[in-house]
């Protein structure tokens, strides 16, 4: 059949729109995974044992199974219990929760590594345990793990391609739509790959900036 990239320009607007959706999903899921990760880490370390143990089980299950399987569970599972979410929302929740668990692992280690003296000093100054965690310990822990969390976010961008499977019209599914009309899979998947690559480079640049800022603030 050979290659013919001349059909690509006609569909560039579709692909471009798909890329915007990919960025929207990535940003949404990244925010969810960041704050979710902090929340999960605090639960895993400090919640009463009756909450902590089942929660550890949930973490264990999410770290040991593929994201694609989890997306199916969330998308179809929520429908089963009567919650009919748009695919986009289900995708953001699925990606966000998956990476929140990975971020939580990083943050837990960092919280444990924050010097005990910090907590003791905060308590001596009259802060409650919750306040000391929120204002003293957790911020320091999170700052320490920004670089590895950044790596997770890069992985999240690439894994966002998976939400095409549950019907979110992001970059991958947009390419598939164009392929459905033109029968040119090679051309459009390569174009989609290029878009991902460029978004990836942009994201790496942003993360490096954030890391430099944190270094300077120390």
């Amino acid at each position: 059949m050979g290659l013919d990239f001349s059909v690509v320009p006609d569909y560039l607007d579709v692909i471009f729109l798909g890329a915007l959706w990919t960025i929207a999903i990535t940003v949404g899921a990244a925010l969810l995974s960041f704050f979710g990760g902090i929340f999960f880490a605090v639960i895993a370390l400090y919640a009463p044992i009756l909450i902590r143990l089942p929660f550890r089980g949930f973490e264990w299950l999410f770290m040991g199974t593929p994201l694609l399987l989890q997306l199916f569970l969330i998308y179809f599972g929520l429908v089963q219990i009567g919650i009919d979410l748009p695919a986009f929302v289900a995708g953001v929740i699925g990606l966000g929760l998956h990476f929140a668990v990975y971020n939580s692992e990083l943050i837990q280690t960092a919280i444990v590594a924050v010097d005990r003296g910090q907590m003791e000093a905060a308590r001596t100054l009259g802060l409650s345990r919750g306040q000391a965690l929120r204002k003293v310990v957790v911020p320091q822990a999170v700052r320490d793990v920004i670089p590895p969390i950044g790596n997770n976010m890069i992985a999240l961008l690439k894994d966002s391609a998976l939400v095409s499977v549950i019907g979110v019209t992001e970059l991958t599914l947009s390419a598939q739509l164009a392929i459905g009309r033109t029968y040119r899979p090679f051309e459009f998947y390569v174009i989609a790959a290029l878009f991902y690559y460029v978004i990836n480079l942009g994201m790496e640049a942003v993360l490096r900036r954030i890391e430099r800022r944190i270094q300077a603030a120390r």
Partner: protein, 215 residues
């Protein structure tokens, strides 16, 4: 929870789990080959090879594995590559994880103290001898654990081939979710099987790592 249904369908999941295991093993082998070649290219004295190695790592790690799989499986026939879904899955995933393994292997090799190389060269060993007898044995010990992390990701990554209709665990779960409307039960069966595979692999890696320790 519908336990009766779970007992009825689980044999199909076991069968699918074997496909996942087969995929994982073949992908690991191909990934190690690609990773070794990639690391050799990145550490080569030839500038061209270094560029080729760096481009491989950058493009593969900079784009989604799913897209790479689609380019190979759906786009392949346009450039004369005809593969069935299973073959495309193994090659696509193997080349993908190979880029990550390239960095793992390269990292372990450059972590070996320079003094070791200098000492071996002073003793009259050739560059190749130095690499084979001094650097590589030490680097291999260092790379077992991080390669284990790569393999863990790879096992979960095999789920992607469900998107090109290879009948493995995730595809099977997806099909049964569609026909039974019991997503939670199907997730539980397939999830547990994935966790068993990952657990056993993790133990094997830990065992290898212990065996390889000098002290």
């Amino acid at each position: 929870m519908d336990v009766e249904l779970m007992l009825k369908v689980y044999p199909f999941f076991i069968k699918a789990a074997w496909v996942t295991i087969e995929l994982s093993i073949l992908t690991t082998i191909l990934g190690l080959i690609c990773g070794s070649l990639g690391a050799a290219a990145r550490l080569s004295r030839l500038k061209v090879l270094r560029y080729v190695g760096a481009a491989y790592v950058s493009f593969i790690r900079g784009t989604p594995a799913l897209i790479q799989l689609f380019i190979l499986y759906f786009g392949g026939p346009q450039i004369g590559i005809q593969l069935d879904a299973f073959e495309a899955g193994v090659i696509g995933l193997g080349v993908n994880i190979g880029a990550y393994m390239t960095e793992t292997i390269r990292g372990a090799i450059i972590a070996i103290d320079k003094g070791q190389v200098e000492a071996a060269r002073t003793l009259g060993m050739s560059r190749l001898q130095t690499f084979r007898k001094v650097v590589l044995p030490q680097a291999m010990r260092l790379m077992i654990r991080p390669l284990g992390v790569n393999i863990n990701a790879l096992i979960k990554g095999t789920a992607l081939v469900a998107a090109i209709s290879v009948v493995e665990l995730t595809y099977t779960a997806q099909r049964y979710i569609g026909s039974t409307y019991k997503p939670f039960e199907m997730f539980l069966i397939s999830g547990l099987l994935y966790m068993i595979i990952i657990y056993v692999t993790g133990r094997a890696v830990a065992w290898l790592d212990r065996r390889a320790r000098i002290v």
